[in-house]
């Protein structure tokens, strides 16, 4: 009884929050799941039943492997638990297989791997300290941060309803951020490099990481007013960072380099053939650009400035995933998007 009272005593609000949201995730098991469910089942099947040389070539299902190798290994590890739930889900030809045991396994795998996310949030909370002592639990910054992260409804909906593994991946990112805060820069860099090889979309934040590590880790001391002391640049530290990233990348891409499959892997990872916007437009600048193009083409047709025969019907709004040509405005190539992104990032960097 004493042990139980200690467990449920005062400072255990974090445990209550974590357990509470985990139980909510269990209640979400019978909800709707999207095609991403089949995507991950397919990847379980591919990594389990086929040799490595086939992983990035396999195309029986339309949901081909398009995440970096570490994620493939992650699915491989999961598949060894999956075989105890339902062997049939590991068959590559069982498209859209979703028996109740498959569903249970997949949902539980997301819930279970979220443990890393919970740990990372705990580490982040250690780095957050309220400036004034707050008596009220709901006013403590640690509590607020924990609630916002652990009970993040966007993450709950995407991970536990739609079905993805973002919790686990965000856990890695938060953990690397926490390590940077705790001045354990090498660990932070290592964790981020690992994360990049799990899901390459985190390249979005790679420039920020790069500049931060360069400034805070490679320059070992600051002037009294906080600005850079240029002569404290440590080449050793720069080299060690580079070596970390290189070793992680070697571990990840090495086997595919040896098999001469790098071009294939990259074409899977960066599918420019999929077009400027996905089937469902992300709310970014190019969505506005497309919308403007659409509006202008409609106006053009009304005012008889454009020839209807030359315009493809419902080109970008049909929900298909392919490359399109813009009708009125100039078409956008991948190089253009890269240049625009770099200009936007550099603008921020100059003020840093």
């Amino acid at each position: 009884m004493a042990a139980l009272s200690v467990m449920t005593g005062g400072g255990s609000w974090f445990l209550a929050l974590a357990l509470g949201v985990t139980l909510l995730k269990c209640l979400l098991i019978p909800t709707y799941h999207s095609t991403d469910f089949e995507v991950h089942r397919n990847w379980l099947a591919i990594t389990h039943s086929l040799p490595i040389s086939q992983w990035y070539y396999e195309a029986t299902s339309e949901w081909t492997l398009d995440y970096p190798p570490f994620f493939a290994w992650f699915e491989y590890a999961l598949s060894h638990v999956a075989k105890y739930f339902d062997q049939e889900m590991l068959n590559v030809h069982n498209l859209n297989y979703s028996s109740s045991r498959t569903l249970l396994f997949q949902r539980f795998s997301v819930i279970f791997t979220d443990a890393l996310f919970v740990y990372a949030v705990h580490e982040c909370c250690k780095c957050v300290d309220g400036k004034k002592a707050c008596k009220e639990l709901t006013e403590k910054p640690k509590f607020i941060l924990s609630v916002l992260l652990l009970w993040n409804f966007g993450l709950l909906i995407v991970d536990h309803i739609h079905f993805q593994y973002n919790g686990f991946l965000f856990g890695l990112m938060l953990l690397s951020i926490a390590r940077l805060f705790q001045k354990r820069h090498m660990e932070g860099a290592f964790l981020f490099a690992v994360l990049l090889h799990f899901k390459h979309i985190y390249l979005y934040v790679a420039p920020a990481y790069g500049i931060y590590l360069l400034r805070s880790y490679c320059f070992t001391a600051n002037k009294p007013d906080g600005s850079i002391r240029w002569n404290t640049f440590s080449f050793v530290r720069l080299i060690s960072l580079g070596l970390t990233v290189f070793l992680v990348s070697a571990l990840s891409l090495g086997p595919f380099l040896a098999l001469n499959q790098l071009p294939q892997v990259f074409s899977r990872l960066f599918p420019f053939k999929r077009g400027l916007c996905h089937a469902y437009w992300a709310p970014n600048f190019w969505a506005l650009y497309n919308a403007l193009d659409k509006v202008l083409s409609v106006i053009g047709l009304q005012l008889k400035l454009l020839d209807p025969k030359k315009i493809p019907k419902a080109s970008m709004t049909s929900g298909l995933v392919q490359q399109f040509q813009h009708t009125v405005l100039p078409s956008v190539t991948p190089l253009v998007t890269l240049i625009c992104t770099l200009i936007a990032i550099l603008e921020r960097k100059t003020s840093f």
Binding site: M1, A2, S5, W13, G20, L24, L27, I29, P30, T138
Partner: protein, 507 residues
């Protein structure tokens, strides 16, 4: 109240849990020809919409009473009629006479689940929030934590949103009754309670404490003056509300009698299926149903029920107070559950509601009782494929109670309200100091037994000769727990006023 936003968050969390539980299966899903309670409710919408009132409770070619005939009072029928009008607007196929029998579809399930949510939101949840806001002598944070725990009580969620019933309406109305009567709005309170009884006749389990409390209030005000006026007003309210609900059935004597026959099926027998009460548990060893003739069974059941609840009710009438009222509701409903006729396992919810109301006063024992009450319905929940939501909601409830009330620190004599009882016993047995420790050990044994039985029922197959072994074990273990709670609550009630007197002596 301050921190209204926290209370809103708690209510929203309660609603989220309810809606996610409703995604699961319901009673009788995909099981022709009889299906289950879900089909019964749909059938009542069909009957009340398509047939005139005079035929609702009678057997006819259009209304086969053997197939889920109406056996709740008129208010349930009116509620079904209201839902039927909405169903007619959305899709008439759902309630078409005869052809909609056994109708099952995703859209229909959504509709039915929505009707439960709306009824809950309009009646039960506001009552719970108001009850928590009106609690005295505790901080706002504790009031909100109290609301969270009551709204997370698994038994009601699983039966209403899983198995499929409308208990939140009758329990909500009864709760409004308790609130009204406790806050001295006696007429409104008794009106609400009459509506509750007219929704489900099982609410009669709560009727004696209501009667005792209100009678006690009348006595206190003096039978010759204000008390008599209050008595007359209350009687008038009760008669008026019953008349209003039963009006269409008072046109012919046969109508009223038939409804009563449907509500109180005395020819059905002492118990049906496995239920955690005395009769079912004793019949494991002694086949009472075969030994005693039918009318003797009724008399024995009646006498035992009355004997077990009389002391508490008499005390309530002599010393009415809101606190005593709540505790008497618990013991009275529990007595009915354990000893009465034709009790169903879902009737434990009638005991759980008053226990939720005393959660803030004896958190440890209340949490324990509410866990056992959910466990006692395990066979029913397993039949409806509700294992996952049961386990998850039970764990959530336990965590919520444990962190909100720090229940494991509140197991002293004082906190278990057993102080005056222990003091009285110590006059004869000076060494009687071990009561809290015994109770703690009993709790651990009880929880371990419940967990083990759950695991066994889920993983193992019962032996060939004893196919009902696990259901019988579950109901017997629950019955033992309930008997313990009956004794405990009666001790609290009977030794209660001495608590106040002792404290006054010391100071």
């Amino acid at each position: 109240m301050e921190k209204w936003y926290l209370m809103t968050a708690v209510v929203l969390l309660g609603l989220t849990v309810r809606w996610t539980v409703s995604l699961n299966s319901y009673s009788g899903a995909g099981k022709p020809p009889m299906f289950g309670d879900y089909e019964a409710q749909r059938h009542w919408q069909e009957i009340t919409f398509n047939l005139p009132i005079k035929q609702w409770y009678f057997n006819s070619s259009d209304n086969n009473l053997q197939y889920w005939g109406l056996d709740y009072p008129p208010l349930t029928a009116y509620h079904s009629l209201l839902c039927a009008y909405v169903a007619q607007f959305i899709n008439p196929d759902w309630i078409a006479l005869h052809s909609s029998r056994g109708y099952e579809s995703q859209a229909h399930k959504l509709f039915m689940r929505a009707t439960v949510l709306i009824a809950d939101l309009l009646i039960y949840i506001p009552a719970v929030v108001l009850h928590c806001c009106c609690l005295k002598e505790i901080s706002t944070k504790k009031k909100i934590a109290n609301a969270l725990c009551i709204l997370l009580y698994p038994g009601l969620i699983l039966i209403d949103y899983g198995h499929f019933q409308y208990n939140s309406v009758s329990l909500g109305l009864a709760l409004w009754g308790v609130l009204g009567v406790s806050c001295d709005w006696d007429l409104l309170g008794s009106l609400a309670f009459c509506l509750a009884v007219n929704y489900k006749q099982m609410e009669l389990y709560h009727s004696l404490p209501f009667f005792g409390f209100l009678l006690g209030k009348c006595f206190k005000k003096g039978l010759k003056g204000k008390g008599f006026v209050l008595f007359v007003k209350l009687a008038g309210t009760v008669v008026a509300s019953f008349t209003l609900c039963w009006l269409p059935f008072f046109t012919e004597r046969a109508q009223a009698l038939q409804v009563l026959r449907r509500l109180f099926p005395v020819d059905r027998g002492l118990f049906e299926d496995k239920v955690a009460n005395i009769w079912c548990s004793v019949s494991v060893f002694l086949k009472i149903k075969d030994i005693l003739p039918h009318h003797v069974q009724i008399i024995v059941s009646f006498c035992l029920t009355l004997l077990s609840l009389l002391p508490a009710c008499v005390k309530l009438t002599l010393q009415p107070s809101p606190k005593a009222f709540r505790f008497t509701l618990v013991s009275c409903a529990l007595s009915f559950f354990l000893f009465s006729f034709q009790v169903h396992e879902k009737s434990i919810l009638l005991v759980s509601l008053p226990v939720c109301l005393v959660l803030s006063e004896i958190p440890f024992m209340s949490t324990w009782f509410l866990l056992v009450s959910t466990f006692s319905m395990l066979p029913l929940l397993l039949k409806d494929d509700l294992l996952m939501p049961s386990v998850v909601t039970t764990m959530a409830f336990f965590i919520a109670c444990a962190t909100s009330f720090s229940i494991f620190e509140k197991t002293s004599e004082e906190e278990l309200r057993l102080k005056s009882f222990s003091v009285s016993v110590r006059k004869h047995l000076p060494r009687f100091t071990f009561l809290p420790r015994i109770i703690q050990h009993l709790f651990i044994i009880s929880v371990i037994t419940m967990v083990l039985l759950t695991l066994m029922t889920v993983t193992l197959d019962p032996p060939q000769k004893l196919p009902d072994l696990f259901s019988v074990l579950v109901s017997s273990v629950s019955c033992l727990n309930f008997l313990f709670f009956l004794v405990y609550f009666n001790i609290i009630i009977m030794w209660d006023s001495k608590d106040g007197r002792n404290q006054k002596k010391i100071h």
